[in-house]
Structure formats: structure tokens, C-alpha cells
């Protein structure tokens, strides 16, 4: 363990960190684009099967990453329905898997935030003659700091999971190796300094993200009540 601090000088370590962030941030971007409107629509909409949809969405927050990985693997494999895209064992496949994994988290958490606000605002907005899309946008804007928490929860989940990226990415050195899969591999190989170094960076990123989310919400609470 004497060479432990030296692992932070290896360009290899930082290449892995950068790829991890690229994959997870892309997945969060796509999942946010789809998840926020989906969550808001379920929060505000009244349709048959709404209760079941909410239960399903909440349950999907606990999707096991390996199962998502397996499903995406079957979709993208040569014989699968989307095999022609040639995405398997590329960062693109990892983005697809993580997007599916965190979409329910972002949709379910934003559904909750929007619905709570909607219950409060609905009558007042209708009294002012504000309805439909305009009312939805007003509420989304008013709960924007809660939505940030939902998005960061998704990012935390994406950057910390191993199973999905391992299966669809294949943990190929320099191509699809991210922090979590590298930690798993290096630990089994006995290269503990590198595994530990990556672990510290990973925890550091998750900590910084959560601290940022906390501070933004605190500031918003003080600023806007």
C-alpha cells in the first residue's frame, strides 16, 4: 500500500473517472428530459389506471441494475431486436441501460413533488383563470428545487451502480471501463491501491453532488420560502 497516493497521478485513473461521468451525466440528461414531463403528466392527469401506474413507477425505482443490464443486453445483442445498431459493449449501450435504470427514479420523485404542489395550487390557479399547460408550467417552475433533488438522486444511482454497465459495457479497458466496474475488477486482481483510489474519487463525487443539492435547496428555502 506504500504507493497508494501515487495512483492519483496515473492518467489511467482519471480517464476512467471522465468516462464514468460522461456515461452517467448523459443518462441523467436523457432520463430528465423524459422523466420530468412524465412525472408531471401523471401528477396532474386523471386517467383510468393512474393508481396502478404510480405503484408501478414507485416499484421501478428499485429496479435491480443487473436485471436492467440483462434486458438491455438481450435487446442490443447481435440476435436481439436492436442488434443492428451495434451498440453492445460501447459507452452508448451503458447510457441506454443507465437511462432505463434511473428514468423511474426521476419520474417518480418529480411526480410526488408536482402532485403535492398541485394539490396546494390547483384551486388558486383556477380561481385566477390559469389552467392546462400554463398551470402545469407554473407549478413545475415553483417546485424546481425539489426537481433538482430528483435529478441528483438519479445521478447518484447512475454513478454508483455496477451491474448494468458491467453487462452491457463489458468492462473493456480504455473503452467501457468505468469507476465501479474497474473497482470490481482491480479488487479481484489484487490491485487494491487503484481500486481504493477509484473508490475514494467515487465517494467524493457522490458527496459533492449531495452537498451541492443540499446547499441549493437550503438557499432556495431561505430565499423563496
Amino acid at each position: 500500500m506504500a504507493d497508494f497516493p501515487a495512483v492519483f497521478e496515473q492518467p489511467e485513473l482519471w480517464a476512467i473517472v471522465v468516462l464514468s461521468l460522461q456515461v452517467s451525466l448523459s443518462a441523467v440528461g436523457f432520463a430528465t428530459l423524459a422523466g420530468l414531463p412524465l412525472g408531471a403528466a401523471i401528477a396532474v392527469g386523471r386517467f383510468p389506471g393512474r393508481g396502478a401506474t404510480i405503484v408501478l413507477l414507485n416499484a421501478l425505482m428499485g429496479l435491480p441494475p443487473v436485471v436492467v443490464g440483462l434486458a438491455v443486453y438481450l435487446l442490443l445483442s447481435r440476435a436481439g431486436p436492436l442488434g443492428g445498431l451495434g451498440l453492445l459493449f460501447t459507452p452508448g449501450a451503458m447510457v441506454v441501460a443507465q437511462t432505463i435504470l434511473i428514468l423511474p427514479i426521476i419520474a417518480a420523485l418529480s411526480r410526488q413533488a408536482v402532485e403535492d404542489a398541485w394539490r396546494e395550487y390547483d384551486e388558486q390557479l383556477r380561481s385566477l383563470g390559469v389552467e392546462g399547460l400554463r398551470a402545469a408550467l407554473t407549478v413545475l417552475w415553483d417546485v424546481r428545487f425539489s426537481l433538482l433533488t430528483a435529478v441528483l438522486a438519479g445521478l447518484g444511482r447512475a454513478s454508483a451502480e455496477v451491474g448494468a454497465v458491467m453487462i452491457v459495457g463489458g468492462n473493456i479497458d480504455g473503452v467501457t471501463r468505468v469507476m465501479t466496474t474497474a473497482i470490481a475488477l482491480e479488487t479481484s486482481k489484487g490491485d487494491l491501491p487503484l481500486a481504493l483510489g477509484l473508490g475514494i474519487v467515487l465517494i467524493g463525487i457522490v458527496l459533492v453532488l449531495n452537498a451541492a443539492a443540499f446547499l441549493v435547496k437550503e438557499a432556495a428555502q431561505r430565499r423563496y420560502g
Binding site: S127, G129, R134, T138, A220, Y224, G225
Partner: protein
């Protein structure tokens, strides 16, 4: 002019339970009307039916003129403020009512000044005290210059001094020619602010009378019991 407002055999029930029994009445412009009754008597529901927030199960709510939405306003028991400044909350309402952009800020400032909140114009609305938020809700209604203002127990969760301030603003509305329709279970408030009383009991309109006469000589046993404080509280 959207008044008079007519309710024709209006009833409302939820989950099979009748909340408002078939009821007909006409509200004209002029003196303020107090909807008085115990908690759960149906005051709020009756007011929401009039304001159009809920649709009657049967019967019709008829206004006399067009564009009824922009000519009426409602202040709720718990004011709902958007997460923006006091001024911007009023401007939001003006925008929703279709007021031209260059007019909005001036009208909003006038309304804030009317309720004594001009100094707090830039303060985030949700940081204001309960009484201030309720005054802001009144300013938001004032800025729209509604023909009819509905007030649903506007002081039920306020302390006596905040209540006095709110009542002063409501009297200002009344003096400016807005028709004030207020629900309350507070007898003192009904006497202070009401010109006529609609007494509601268990979803029925039991009595309609000038306030002074209602309190001196109630025409129904229920109203007499309510005034004496003997009415079972549900």
C-alpha cells in the same frame, strides 16, 4: 356587469352524500353578503359552486354577463402564494387576467399600497407572516378590480390584530363598490362586516335576512341556537 348571480335548484353531493341540498337564490350588486354557519355546514362548498371551482351535481349557476372569470376573485382561508416576490405574485394574477404588460407593475404597486404592503414588494411572498400573506392575497384580488369578491373564512387562522387589518381591507373593498361575499362562522365578524346574512345549516339555506335583524330576531330555531352557541358543532 356579471351580477346578479342566480343559483337555480343547485345541489352538490360527493360520494353519495348530499353536501348542498337543492337551493335557489339570487345575489345582486350592493351590500355585502355573509354566509354564516357552523363548521361543515356547507359554506365553503356553496361559495366554490358560486365561484365555479366545482360544478353542481344538479341545477344551474347563472351569471348575468360574459367573461365571468376575470370579473370575480376569491381569497381562501389559507393563502396560496407562488415562490416569487410579493409584487410578482400580484403581477402574475394581472398577467393571467390579460392585463397589458406595461400596466401590470403600476397596478400591482397600487394594490400593494392599498393593503399596506408596498414596503414588502420585493420580499418573497412565502417568507411573509400569515397575516401579511392574507393581505397579499387581498391585494392580488384588489389589483383585478373584481365585480365580486369571494372570501372563504379569510381570518380563521389569524390572530386578532391581523384579523383587524384584514377586516379593514375588506371594508375598503366594500366601499369601492365590489360585491363582497364572505363565509364565516365568526358571529362578531358577521356583525362587523355583513349587511345581509345567509344562514346555512346542514347544506340547506335556512334563513336570509339583514344582518341587524338576523342577530336581533333570528327567524329559525337553528339560527337562534347557533347565535346562542348551542348548535352542535358539525
Amino acid at each position: 356587469m356579471i351580477l346578479p348571480l342566480r343559483l337555480e335548484e343547485v345541489s352538490f353531493s360527493a360520494r353519495g352524500r348530499a353536501i348542498i341540498a337543492p337551493l335557489s337564490l339570487e345575489l345582486g350588486a350592493g351590500p355585502s353578503t355573509i354566509i354564516l354557519g357552523a363548521n361543515g355546514a356547507g359554506k365553503s362548498v356553496l361559495m366554490r359552486l358560486m365561484h365555479g371551482l366545482i360544478a353542481p351535481t344538479a341545477g344551474r349557476v347563472l351569471w348575468s354577463g360574459p367573461n365571468t372569470r376575470s370579473k370575480q376573485a376569491m381569497v381562501f382561508q389559507h393563502p396560496v402564494m407562488l415562490r416569487r416576490s410579493a409584487l410578482d405574485n400580484v403581477i402574475y394574477a394581472l398577467k393571467a387576467a390579460g392585463i397589458a404588460r406595461h400596466e401590470r407593475e403600476r397596478l400591482a404597486r397600487e394594490a400593494l399600497s392599498e393593503v399596506g404592503l408596498l414596503a414588502a414588494a420585493r420580499t418573497p411572498a412565502r417568507v411573509l407572516s400569515g397575516g401579511q400573506q392574507q393581505r397579499l392575497a387581498l391585494a392580488r384580488a384588489w389589483a383585478l378590480h373584481p365585480e365580486v369578491l369571494f372570501l372563504d373564512e379569510p381570518t380563521a387562522s389569524l390572530d386578532p390584530s391581523a384579523t383587524r387589518e384584514i377586516e379593514a381591507v375588506i371594508r375598503g373593498f366594500d366601499a369601492s363598490g365590489t360585491k363582497v361575499v364572505m363565509a364565516t362562522h365568526n358571529l362578531g365578524q358577521a356583525l362587523r362586516l355583513g349587511d345581509e346574512v345567509l344562514f346555512v345549516h346542514q347544506g340547506r339555506l335556512v334563513e336570509r335576512a339583514p344582518a341587524e335583524r338576523f342577530f336581533r330576531q333570528p327567524g329559525s330555531a337553528e339560527a337562534a341556537a347557533f347565535i346562542k352557541g348551542e348548535l352542535p358543532w358539525v
